[in-house]
C-alpha cells in the first residue's frame, strides 16, 4: 500500500531498540574505568550508541529508505535491524535479538494503534528522534547527522495529507497484525491486556481537531442552525489538548514515542511462539537488503579489536527453552539461501566483503580470553 513507510519504520523501531539497549547498558555500568573486567563503562555505552545512531542516520542509509517502495517483510526487517545493532562493538545472540525485535515491534504497534490522529505518527517519530539526539549529544558529528535526517523527514512528510497518513498507518497496522506478544512493562501499566491486545479507553481528551461527540445539529436550506440535540456518547471524553510541535525542536505533547524504560526497573519480557511462514517475495526483498547493507558506510563499521557479546534478556534456563522453541527447519534453510551478491556497484561489493570479513575476524578473536568482556556479560545481564 503506502510507499513511504520505511523511514518512519526505521526511526521508530531503531529508536525503541536504542532505548532498550541504552537501559540495559546503563544497568550494567558500575564504574567509569575499564579496569574491572566485564563491566560496560559509560564510554563503552556511548560508543555503542554513537555507532548505531551514526549508521541509522547516515545519509546513504536514509536516502535508500526514502525511495518510494513497499514495506519489507518481518524477516528482512529483522535482518536489517540486527545489522544495525551490530554496527557497534556489541554482539547480540539470536535469542536476544529475537526478543529485542519482538519488544520493539510491540512498542511501535502500541504507538501506531493509539496514535490520536494519523498525522501524529510524525510526532511519535520526532519524539524518538529527540531522545536519540539526547543519547548522542556528546558527539557533534552524530548529532549533525541526526539533525540533517530530521530536516529531511520534515521536508518529505510535512506536506502529506491526513488521508495519506492514514494509508501509511493502515499499512503499518497490517504489518503488525496478529502480533500479541505480552510485554510485562505494558501489562504492568495496563496498556496491554492479559490476552495481548492493547487497551483502548473511551475516555480522555479527543485528538486535536476533533470535536467531543454528543451533538446533532440540523440546518435549514439557508444554512442556519434550526435545532440542536444531544445524545449519550457512551464514554467520558474531554476537549483536546494543544497540538504538538512538528518543528525540529519543540514540545511533542503526546507521550507516545517517549522512552518508557527506566534504569531501575529492567523489565521482564515474555515471548509467544511466532509464526514463521516464508514470504514468497523474500528473494526480491533480500536483494533490496543486499543493496541496503552495501550502502552502509565503511567508516561506521567497527574497527574494534574484540567483540562484545550480550545476552540481553534471558537466564540460562530460558535461553535453553528459546533454543528448543525457535529452531525451525524452514527458517534455517531460508537463511541458508541468502546470497548477498546482487551487487551492481563494485565499490559496495568490496565494502561488503570487507565488512563481512571483519565480522569473521571478530568471531575468531572471540576465542581469545584476554580482553574479552563478552562471556562475563552473560552473568551481568541477568538482572531480571
Amino acid at each position: 500500500m503506502s510507499v513511504k513507510t520505511l523511514p518512519l519504520v526505521f526511526i521508530n523501531l531503531g529508536g525503541e531498540m536504542l532505548y532498550i539497549l541504552d537501559q540495559r547498558l546503563r544497568a550494567t555500568s558500575t564504574s567509569e574505568d575499564n579496569s574491572e573486567k566485564g563491566v560496560w563503562s559509560e564510554n563503552d555505552r556511548k560508543r555503542v550508541m554513537n555507532d548505531i545512531v551514526g549508521t541509522l542516520f547516515s545519509k546513504t542509509f536514509m536516502d535508500e529508505l526514502l525511495k518510494p517502495q513497499q514495506l519489507y517483510s518481518h524477516r528482512t526487517l529483522k535482518t536489517v535491524l540486527t545489522r544495525l545493532a551490530h554496527a557497534s562493538i556489541m554482539r547480540l545472540n539470536p535469542a536476544s535479538m529475537d526478543r529485542l525485535y519482538e519488544l520493539t515491534i510491540m512498542a511501535f504497534k502500541y504507538q501506531v494503534f493509539r496514535c490520536p490522529r494519523p498525522k501524529d505518527l510524525l510526532l511519535i517519530s520526532y519524539s524518538h528522534i529527540d531522545t536519540i539526539r539526547e543519547l548522542v549529544k556528546d558527539t557533534s558529528v552524530v548529532v549533525n547527522q541526526v539533525d540533517e535526517t530530521h530536516r529531511k523527514i520534515i521536508e518529505v512528510y510535512s506536506s502529506l495529507s491526513e488521508g495519506e497518513f492514514q494509508l501509511l498507518r493502515q499499512t503499518l497496522l497490517i504489518f503488525f497484525q496478529d502480533m500479541h506478544v505480552r510485554v510485562s512493562l505494558f501489562l504492568k501499566n495496563q496498556i496491554q491486556n492479559p490476552d495481548g491486545r492493547f487497551a483502548l479507553p473511551t475516555s480522555g481528551p479527543v485528538p486535536h481537531g476533533i470535536v467531543v461527540p454528543g451533538l446533532i445539529r440540523v440546518f435549514d436550506s439557508k444554512g442556519r442552525e434550526v435545532r440542536r440535540s444531544e445524545f449519550p456518547a457512551g464514554g467520558s471524553y474531554s476537549s483536546p489538548v494543544r497540538e504538538g510541535s512538528f518543528e525540529l525542536h519543540g514540545d511533542r505533547v503526546i507521550s507516545l514515542g517517549m522512552n518508557m524504560y527506566t534504569v531501575n526497573h529492567p523489565e521482564e519480557t515474555h515471548t509467544s511462539k511466532g509464526d514463521g511462514t516464508p514470504n514468497p517475495l523474500a528473494k526480491e526483498e533480500l536483494n533490496l537488503l543486499a543493496c541496503l547493507i552495501g550502502s552502509l558506510k565503511a567508516e561506521n563499521m567497527p574497527r574494534a579489536e574484540y567483540g562484545f557479546r550480550i545476552n540481553l534478556f534471558t537466564t540460562d534456563q530460558e535461553e535453553e527453552e528459546e533454543a528448543d522453541g525457535t529452531s525451525d527447519g524452514a527458517e534455517e534453510s531460508m537463511f541458508g539461501v541468502i546470497n548477498i551478491q546482487a551487487m551492481q556497484d563494485e565499490q559496495s561489493a568490496a565494502e561488503l566483503a570487507r565488512i563481512t570479513g571483519q565480522f569473521a575476524e571478530e568471531e575468531e578473536q572471540h576465542e581469545n580470553p584476554s580482553g574479552n568482556k563478552g562471556d562475563d556479560l552473560l552473568a551481568m545481564m541477568d538482572d531480571l
Binding site: 500500500m1 498507518r169 497496522l173 491486545r197 479527543v206 451533538l215
Partner: protein, 336 residues
C-alpha cells in the same frame, strides 16, 4: 435495543481498512454471506440462518495464471444487480470480479501503473453496483472505472472512466431506497472529503460536486436523495445530493469513522469508528418541508477494538454485524 449474538469465527483477523465488511443476504437459500479482508486474502463465510452451518472460503488477490503475485487487498464488496450478484475485490494490482459465492473469477482488470507518479501508492478502492448493469470502482488517482456487466457470462467491459476527483477514492455508493424518483443514483467520495454526485447511464452525468474540508471521507451512503458521509474527524454530514445543502451535522465519534451503512426500508443508520463504538441512528426525510431528522438510538462498545466494518444484515436493520482490527470474528447483534 440490540443484544449481542453468537459471533462467527473467521480464519484470519480483519485488517484496518475502511468499510471492511460486506454482507449478502440470500433469502431463497436462507443463507447470508460475509466477506472480510485480511492483508492479501478475502475471508468468506456462508452462514445458514438457523445458525447451524458455516462454511468458509478464502480468495487471494492475484492475476490469473500468475502463480506467485499476490497483493494487498483494499476492499471487497458484493454488488447486487437485477440479473445477478457478483463479488468485487480491489487491490494494489487490479480489480477482480467473482460470482457471488467466490467460486469462479469472471473478470480481471489490471491497474495501469505506468502513468502514476512513482512516489504515490497505486490501488483500487471504492465499489458499487448502480442501475441495472454497471459496477463502479474507484482508483487511487481519483478516477472511477465504470464497468458494463451483461446479465450473464464474463463479457464485462470497461464502459467509461470518470475523472472528477483528484485524490484517491475512498468509497462509492448507489441510491439504496429503491425509489425511482431520485435523480441522483451514485455518490463517490475521496481522501480530501470531496463528494461527487452522479446520474448513471451510457454516459454518466455529474450532477453536483460537494467540496470537502481537507479531511478524508472514509465512508458514504446515498438514501432518498440524501448523501450521508462519514469523516476522519468522527463527524457525519447529511447533504441533499443534488443541491449540496447541508441538512445536518453529527459529532458522532471521537476517532476516524471507518464504516457507515443504511437499512433502506427503515431508515436506520449504522456508524462505526476507531474509537471502538458502533452507533445506531434513525433518519427521517420529509420531502414536503425538505428537512431531515437524525435521532440517536443505540450504542455498542466493542472493548479495546478499532472497528473497521459494520453492516446491517437485512433491509430493515433487524440485525447488524461488526468487524474490528486484529479481531478474528464477526460480531453480530440483533434487535430484542
Amino acid at each position: 435495543m440490540y443484544h449481542k449474538e453468537k459471533s462467527i469465527q473467521i480464519k484470519n483477523s480483519a485488517s484496518a481498512l475502511y468499510n471492511n465488511l460486506s454482507v449478502l443476504r440470500i433469502a431463497p437459500r436462507r443463507l447470508t454471506y460475509f466477506t472480510v479482508v485480511h492483508a492479501n486474502v478475502v475471508n468468506m463465510v456462508s452462514a445458514s440462518w438457523d445458525g447451524l452451518n458455516y462454511s468458509h472460503r478464502q480468495l487471494q488477490s492475484k492475476e490469473p495464471n500468475v502463480a506467485t503475485s499476490t497483493s494487498l487487498i483494499m476492499q471487497v464488496a458484493f454488488c447486487v444487480l437485477p440479473s445477478r450478484d457478483l463479488l468485487v475485490v480491489t487491490s494494489q494490482k487490479g480489480i477482480q470480479i467473482y460470482e457471488s459465492d467466490g467460486s469462479i473469477m469472471v473478470y480481471w482488470h489490471a491497474l495501469d501503473t505506468s502513468d502514476a507518479p512513482t512516489a504515490q501508492a497505486v490501488f483500487a478502492r471504492g465499489i458499487s453496483a448502480v442501475w441495472d448493469n454497471y459496477i463502479c470502482v474507484g482508483v487511487s488517482s481519483g478516477a472511477i472505472l465504470v464497468f458494463d456487466v451483461p446479465s450473464k457470462g464474463s463479457n464485462i467491459t470497461l464502459s467509461e472512466v470518470l475523472e472528477e476527483h483528484k485524490e484517491p477514492i475512498t468509497d462509492i455508493a448507489s441510491e439504496c431506497s429503491g425509489s425511482q424518483e431520485c435523480i441522483a443514483d451514485l455518490v463517490s467520495a475521496d481522501d480530501g472529503g470531496n463528494l461527487c454526485v452522479w446520474k448513471s447511464g451510457k454516459e454518466f452525468q455529474l450532477l453536483n460536486k460537494i467540496p470537502g474540508f481537507d479531511m478524508s471521507c472514509s465512508s458514504v451512503k446515498l438514501w432518498k436523495g440524501i448523501v450521508v458521509a462519514g469523516y476522519g474527524t468522527g463527524q457525519i454530514h447529511l447533504f441533499e445530493a443534488v443541491t449540496g445543502i447541508l441538512h445536518a451535522e453529527v459529532n458522532a465519534h471521537a476517532r476516524w469513522i471507518y464504516s457507515l451503512d443504511i437499512a433502506p426500508f427503515s431508515g436506520l443508520l449504522l456508524s462505526a469508528a476507531e474509537d471502538s463504538l458502533v452507533r445506531v441512528w434513525h433518519l427521517t426525510v420529509t420531502p414536503e418541508t425538505n428537512s431531515v431528522e437524525v435521532a440517536h438510538l443505540h450504542n455498542e462498545c466493542v472493548t479495546d477494538t478499532q472497528i473497521c466494518g459494520a453492516k446491517f444484515c437485512d433491509g430493515d436493520g433487524y440485525a447488524f454485524a461488526v468487524t474490528g482490527y486484529d479481531l478474528s470474528e464477526i460480531i453480530r447483534y440483533t434487535q430484542l
